[in-house]
Symmetry: C2
Subunit: 144 residues, 2 copies
């Protein structure tokens, strides 16, 4: 668990070096908060958390850094909410359960789906990079 985090940090550092991205203090802290937060944080969430460690950081640095991470494939943008982007540091293939009410996002794996043959008209559409399932509804807590 502790090791899990360490591994991700190591991998992060390596990828940054490979990509020619500088390992600044801000980037390290931002990445650490991204992997710590299990609910696919928004940029503002990350800003709030990072501010606790670096009170002088500016929001635009967080936005810019997150965009850079996305661009270099270090995190992914989650398209679930209308008013703000959420981010996902998990790079392994997975799918999402989204609660309409509390906006929580839960990951799940689904190999049966991953192995399905695609419909013909889909195959001729173009080149598909990501196959993603989204279930929306109400999580148990929100049902009450």
């Amino acid at each position: 668990m502790k090791t899990e985090t360490e591994n991700r940090i190591r991998e992060f550092k390596q990828k940054c070096t490979e990509a020619g991205l500088r390992l600044t203090h801000q980037r390290m802290v931002i990445y650490r908060e991204l992997i710590k937060d299990k609910n696919h944080p928004s940029a503002e969430d990350v800003y709030d958390k990072v501010s606790e460690h670096i009170p002088t950081i500016s929001a635009d640095t967080v936005y810019r850094t997150i965009n850079t991470f996305e661009q270099y494939g270090l995190i992914q943008r989650v398209h679930v909410q209308d008013d703000r982007s959420r981010f996902d540091p998990k790079l392994k293939k997975h799918h999402h359960l989204i609660c309409k009410r509390c906006k929580s996002i839960v990951d799940f794996d689904w190999q049966t789906f991953d192995q399905l043959t695609l419909p013909k008209n889909v195959q001729s559409w173009g080149a598909i990079n990501s196959k993603h399932v989204e279930f929306r509804g109400l999580c148990k807590k929100c049902i009450k």
Copy 2:
């Protein structure tokens, strides 16, 4: 085809009446443009189109009307892009092919998927209302 549109308009009028929504000229034109546009238009797209018919309409009316339609289940919001919402007047179950480059959204049906048994951990999450597949990649045009 012509009949298809007529049917949707009729159904729209009926739903509005049932819901107690007034059938204003603006709403009629906005709905008509929503079902005419096959590429899941943004609010701005709709505003531009509607402006051709009602030059004095204001953008906020379009936003407000679209929100009302969504609220009453006359259209659905599509969560695909980060910077703006897109809207889908098709209410029947379907899935989306999304081009990263040109942002086009193509509908497809996939009954094999629709009939799949859900993973156990998903079943215990809560109450699911919508099961949606998103394939992202590059459409043929954008591959060139």
